[in-house]
Subunit: 339 residues, 4 copies
């Protein structure tokens, strides 16, 4: 077998980085060669679960040192931090898979409107490929910059793509009522994710202004083949569990919706996607937790189409899909290291 390619984990202290490392440790074609963090510690000090699994110390970010050792860099950084360094890596020939939001929106103005910062890497924004393999599998292999999708976004888009692609539903008024485990909020302690605050509680947050909204709109509009923009009403909720996203989606069909036909449509649409499971039972987030699967089913209730879509926010919603993208870029089987 060929020499494994080197991978850099930029921003190694968070949960998505930890999951990435765990997945890559099973990947026969990849070696985690560099980890960067402002915390100058060993990886197993940052993540005790990695003890005896990897012998690597974090170092400060240095594009040259990464380029020496790694062909691919995963950026597990907050937004704005990614676009500050991605160009320096790409200039040096390092392909970038960015887990932040910096390259997901086509339009710099929309980015500025929702993220409150000017976008500083127009070239990157233009050349980035949106890394949702189920929709953009053809474009990913040749990309040098991947905008890895948001977790809510993946659950929502995979749930709606077949319907918008076929033009079966109204484009506005689509309700996405989404529920997320707490790891989706990241690893920085805050009051709302302090255990005694969010445990045994369910709440909505960022109602009407969550930043995954324009991302969902944009990709669904693309998936619909253009025309009037798709516009969703997206409501995220915080659920007292570690992992998992559950999107309950309500759409108004343009014609008469038949449950059995819709299931067949979804099965056909995802026939080549190893990580989408179109099921007929009602899924639970636990079935896809700790996996790269997205489980989807469809129901018709009082004339509306309900789609239930769920996935693990840290795997299929972050680290797993990032490796799926890497596999496509490497020309490796899409599922390598992901079962």
């Amino acid at each position: 077998m060929a020499e494994p390619v080197g991978a850099a984990i930029v921003g190694a202290s968070g949960y998505a980085a930890r999951e990435l490392i765990q997945i890559l440790l099973r990947h026969p074609g990849v070696k985690v060669a560099v980890a960067t963090s402002r915390q100058d510690e060993r990886l197993d000090a940052l993540h005790p679960g990695l003890t005896k699994r990897i012998d690597l110390a974090c170092e400060p970010f240095d594009a040259d040192r990464i380029a020496e050792r790694a062909g691919y860099a995963f950026l597990a950084l907050p937004h704005t931090a990614s676009m500050a360094i991605a160009p320096s890596l790409r200039e040096r020939g390092v392909k970038v898979i960015d887990l932040s939001a910096d390259y997901r929106l086509d339009d710099a103005q929309v980015y500025e409107d929702w993220y409150g910062h000017e976008h500083t890497d127009a070239e990157g924004l233009n050349s980035a490929v949106y890394g949702l393999p189920e929709l953009f599998r053809q474009k990913i292999p040749s990309a040098t910059l991947i905008a890895n999708p948001g977790c809510y976004t993946s659950a929502s888009i995979l749930g709606l793509a077949p319907l918008v692609a076929e033009g079966l539903i109204e484009r506005t008024g689509i309700v996405i009522d989404a529920k997320s485990g707490v790891s989706g909020a990241g690893r920085s302690p805050k009051l709302n994710t302090h255990f005694p605050e969010c445990n045994e509680s369910l709440s909505a947050y960022s109602v009407g202004r969550h930043r995954h909204t324009p991302e969902i709109d944009q990709i669904l509009t693309t998936a619909s083949g253009g025309g009037d923009p798709v516009e969703v009403i997206f409501t995220p909720h915080l659920v007292p569990m570690d992992r998992g996203i559950f999107a309950t989606i309500y759409a108004k069909p343009l014609g008469t919706a038949v449950e059995h036909d819709l299931i067949e449509l979804y099965r056909s649409f995802y026939a080549d996607s190893p990580f989408v499971r179109v099921v007929t039972h009602l899924p639970a987030t636990k079935d896809s937790a700790y996996t790269n699967f997205c489980d989807i089913t469809v129901r018709v209730v009082r004339g509306r189409i309900l789609i239930l879509s769920c996935l693990d926010n840290l795997i299929k919603g972050a680290a797993g899909v990032a490796v799926q993208n890497l596999n496509l870029m490497l020309g490796a089987p899409e599922a390598t290291a992901l079962f």
Copy 2:
């Protein structure tokens, strides 16, 4: 002070019964005089938390013995069991507050369609008053049979009543995406409520066929002042927490919706209701857990009205509202024993 009235708890082994007893132990005007259960045990054996709180043994149901000692009976029974015994109590002059679904639906046929059993107490069905004090406060004092509302139902109706009463929204296509803690499923162990199954998981259940649906339709239709029936799309979810219901409601306004005006409308509508808190922040179920409050806020997102409504399913959704009804029947202050 007058002699406290005797209360009977029929079906004392479940969670709602336990909550009822705890509330009534604080009530200066009531004495828990009888508890019945098929389990022939002391109350503190069934509910260890009641140790040193009440010295009472359960007995088999006997209408005569209840009538001797109690003026009011709370039925904490499964549906069909309530209607099998309520007449015998009412014949003997015992007023009944039924926590089951047996007397909630006006139409015996609708009951049969959704519950799969013929309704056997037409007289009770006709004379029962729906025990949601916020809507039917005037009718409750003179009632002899109260149909205590369902937990999902109360959260949903309180969230929507001001809008349908004012005729501000479309009557169909209303989406109620509801999330419940596990105690809502009762105390009988089943696989789906076995800890390792439902912990760390979120799932939908009874999609399109949950029995609170016709109850919500019916009461909202009444609240709307008649006309075309209100028809909701109700989706319940199971959340890994003990208590709490959170209803995220999406309605299409008939005119232009203004957030501030809606908040004012709700405040006015519930001005005399001590247990509805119309708030401007986004509520969490934890704020109303272990209380008789229902917390509600309203938002306008992309032209739709969102209502967030939450309450404790065992208190405001069951035992607390039952005591609220009792207070109204007794002529006591509505909030007695409920703070």
Copy 3:
């Protein structure tokens, strides 16, 4: 009835303060007259669950203003902060119930050894009464400064007091393996209490150096009637639940231990204590959660005595016992507002 006495809550933003306020709102003889916090907000902004319950804004600490309106002050402050202000309140005639550790240890040197700060209020240390009513019920009524016990401490001491008082066990080598819900760690977000870190996990912490150790030693030595110091091996664990302390205690009997006799001893020892329940079943923390009870049972296993003792850390371990102390100071029934 007499005019209610005014109470001040000093440090109103934490969990124990919130519980205190909720209990005092039910107390017929007390009015919450002052709340202080560095966060200059309304109480219901700090604690949304208090909405519609109390109409009071926090103010900065001012001993004069407290003395004008309150006869009693509860200090819900971190250690060192209490001793910095308690003298100013007591000088003005305000009686103090301190929920911090500042007045719990008799010996200023021991305080300095374990807390790392010099003790600055020797007079307070000398005059403070340790506020565990089950052991010191006689001394509390006349106290002007109460050192409210630690949560682990109460569970441990109540579990061991009958045995050490009767001289039935070896004084060293007593193992207290204690498990606590996360609210015991306070309301300040930290990494170890960040939901995705501590949820679904159990860990030990502060092994061999937890600050409740010398407090347990001291009070048990007192309870033993003097002689050689009692010395415990105390190991705290963090459990993914909101509330509750469970102490599993292992002691070596000096003679032959008989389970039935021990249960009788405990029942007799706590005959006048309304909030200790000596049970024969194995207790669960849930049975005493949200109550002021401490549940205790005793077993003999392979010649060792096992004591299982549990309570709610925020109620019986903090706010509830504080009100129990207040009641004794007021000459009110010990259980007022506590059921």
Copy 4:
């Protein structure tokens, strides 16, 4: 590569079976060829998480059909059920790894005393090898019947083995205070594992009579090289989390205990064991959850030795160690499929 060996999962509906299948799906040398269950369903109907992972229907147990297709059978059955069928498999040349307790105790009388059933397979009892690779790695390769250890047992024994092997501690009075996640109780719904009962609660159970007690005694006595029997005081607790066992162990040293030396002893003792991590930080169950690791540290507190030992009850405590045993029997690297 050689043809993979066939494996049978006997009793496929439980949690350990599900974990086994997930691990074996990653094993290059094994194919899950048979699954048996009284529930005549597809594996992915029993375990929705296995959807798209394995295409196999359960069948009734039939020793002949297993022998045709499988060289190894994992028995994931309740005690007594294993010994009822193990002989029939071994007669047909199928090697057996039994996850029940049936072959763990050397002495049929001890089995009868603790399990309440006569032991019916004396030959099996004699020839079974206790499948704890860290202690019995030499005996496992040639075994035809493996008694896979209990989950509490593994955590306890791995925590104590170095001390008893070196004769450093007193043999009696060893306290093992153990805490387990709820999946350890199996998949059959019962009241004590019903979510609203055990969630947000911690309790002890089977105090003084848990069946892992004689197993721990026996293996530690063996590990001590004989002499007086080791006798532990074992107290299990139920913790509201899915997975994980945490054993806090208290032992009295015969001489002076020095923390650093003990850590070195443990490191040396487990130098060849890939799945024991001797750490110096205080471990959390979460670090080893979903892995085959056992994390151990040692402390000296007031002259006692404390050992903290934790593992995932379903992996290292059941399915993972079963595959570790299989690997040793196959002559494959011990860690195959286990990272």
